[in-house]
Symmetry: C2
Subunit: 376 residues, 2 copies
């Protein structure tokens, strides 16, 4: 993956190519035939005035005449691209596919980015028109959830402190500076009770993974297998969803991924969750079954989700610390988990990590993809 952050030095395609080339080089195969390129991207049309990313990236990587296309599912674009590549290979249609997630956003004024994101992720007539943006929606959900389960803003801040800390151990992360609990709890309010340290930043970046069939993958690298994937969609308008205190699509996607893989939440050694806002990491850690409902904040407080804890979450720094280039995020989660499962995560390595889960979603849990991976 590329360094995430404000990448004034590179354009959208250059970032995608850098990540793609990284994955191809990492495979160490000189005569590799790539059958398809799947680009995960949320909004290149509005951010960069560009479409056609699949063929452009495939050509610049020298992979023609392979298949090429772009997959969009807002912030779940990266994991949806992974899903299509996985099925094409597991279904026997292709031997090898490159998945590249990419987004370029920081060249636009923040207000424009917020508007484009709101247009993509909130409901036009039920939310957007009333002034709802993603932070305001997350703020309303945070308050409700906090009241129900007796959380304070200190709990939200603990997520930020942990993930900023993890990010300092990840050279690819957007943020490279630890923050203290006091700093988090006194940072600028974006939408009460959400502070700026509760929000993932606007980032540029790309991440890529190479998928191969079991038959054609060379034995030169420690292999990581996709054991299961689940994808579930819920109502776009948050207030219309059946459940008030859970993200149902997270639950459903997780159940499906666990079912396919024959594993349970307790089998997972490390997870990357979609912490676009701090409260979401806590909620997902419950809805995926790592902790009982209402107990996620206590688990966090007790240090269970630290790198050295029983259930390490967002060792990469998460969306909060690693950064959140929308279409790249789902793929970056997989990259982190591959490194963890190969024992290549350096200072943030979870010892003996063998099974991992990624949870990536669109909007505020509108459409969710969960992926279970296993190391060799």
């Amino acid at each position: 993956m590329t360094k995430f952050g404000k990448r004034e030095d590179k354009g959208l395609i250059e970032l995608a190519v850098e990540a793609g080339l990284g994955a191809l080089n990492d495979s160490g195969q000189k005569e590799l035939k790539v059958d398809a390129v799947y680009v995960g991207n949320a909004a290149s049309g509005q951010f960069c005035g560009m479409e056609n990313l699949g063929p452009i990236v495939a050509e610049q990587l020298g992979l023609l005449p392979c298949e090429a296309e772009k997959i969009e599912n807002t912030t779940a674009s990266g994991s949806c691209a992974l899903k299509e590549a996985y099925r094409a290979i597991a279904g026997g249609f292709l031997d090898c596919a490159l998945v590249v997630g990419v987004e370029k956003m920081t060249h636009l004024p923040t207000e424009d980015v917020t508007k484009i994101i709101a247009a993509a992720m909130t409901h036009p007539t039920g939310e957007t028109v009333h002034g709802v943006t993603m932070p305001s929606l997350a703020a309303m959900f945070s308050r409700k959830y906090m009241e129900k389960f007796d959380l304070s803003t200190r709990h939200l801040a603990l997520v930020a402190v942990k993930n900023h800390g993890n990010a300092t151990l990840n050279p690819y992360a957007h943020f490279q500076k630890k923050i203290t609990l006091e700093e988090a709890m006194s940072s600028r309010i974006v939408a009460d009770p959400i502070r700026v340290t509760d929000c993932a930043p606007i980032s540029d970046g790309a991440a890529a993974v190479l998928l191969q069939s079991e038959e054609t993958a060379p034995p030169t690298k420690p292999t990581v297998m996709i054991l299961g994937m689940g994808h579930s969609t819920d109502r776009q308008m948050f207030y219309q969803r059946a459940e008030e205190f859970e993200i149902t699509a997270v639950k459903e996607a997780g159940l499906k991924a666990f079912h396919d893989s024959g594993l349970a939440p307790s089998d997972i050694d490390v997870a990357e969750l979609h912490d676009a806002f701090t409260v979401l990491e806590i909620v997902e850690s419950e809805d995926l079954g790592f902790f009982p409902k209402g107990q996620g904040a206590r688990a966090l407080e007790d240090g269970l989700t630290q790198i050295t804890g029983e259930m390490p979450i967002n060792t990469s720094g998460g969306l909060k610390g690693r950064g959140h280039p929308l279409g790249a995020t789902g793929v970056a989660q997989i990259v982190e988990l591959v490194w963890q499962l190969r024992g290549q995560a350096g200072q943030r390595q979870v010892h003996g990590a063998r099974r991992a889960l990624a949870c990536n979603f669109a909007g505020l849990g509108n459409s969710v993809v969960a992926t279970v991976l296993q190391g060799s």
Copy 2:
């Protein structure tokens, strides 16, 4: 499918929902569980300021909690969506998927549409910056091809006359008026030698198909099977391609689709080809193997590609007559062929049609998908 054309009465989502509902109703299954919605769309971000089409369309069709996403490959978006749905089902991952292709364009000034299309489909530094648009690119290719194979503008006009004629037999087509050879040959020049009648129009519209596994599809309707699909990508910059007089990706995608299906071009009874510009129908009819290289224009002249000819092409009216809402086009081709293979094509029915081919592409043959279908 919806009526194609200037659809001031409906927005992007409403068009997608109308087509999706049509496909669901057509299936005649009361208790149908749809596992996924794949939306093919080229540029909703730039045309309509919208993304997230997968989840939105799935929700409005009442199909939650199914998987949902959007596939973009410019004007091949529709057939790429079909490809992913097909593989998910044929690979055993899903039982049933709805594919919806949609585009809404006519609300913008033509100049803006032309710019968005050029930005998506021509190469930014190699073509767009020099003022190249799709019509000017097609004009250069037309001239070259015409000189090589001794074609006159009359041959281009013959495609337009045939396809406008077929469109009058298709109630869903954008154009509902026959044109004469004289009208075509004296219409306004867009980019010499291309006249306005040589170009597909700017259209709004949507088309949808429902895919089911062999095991779960009910025997109530004449079944249409996907026998094979091929997808191939070539260089984006036209002048850099290895072949000057063929569209290589058409050839490659066709070969793959024929190989998968175990059929030859001579087995095909009816085809929908990507005639965004009239010359393309002639070139594709050769590169897919229906006629020898350089003989496509003669076959057209001799009436072989008429509805009553030996190799009927674009019975729907094609992009030229049916209209060309970018992301909808690839799916609309499949809809027409399904109707043909079920004997439901009314006045434009090809008698005894049993096998069919669709060729849908991005840009001027940048990324091409070919699909072979068989009726029951």
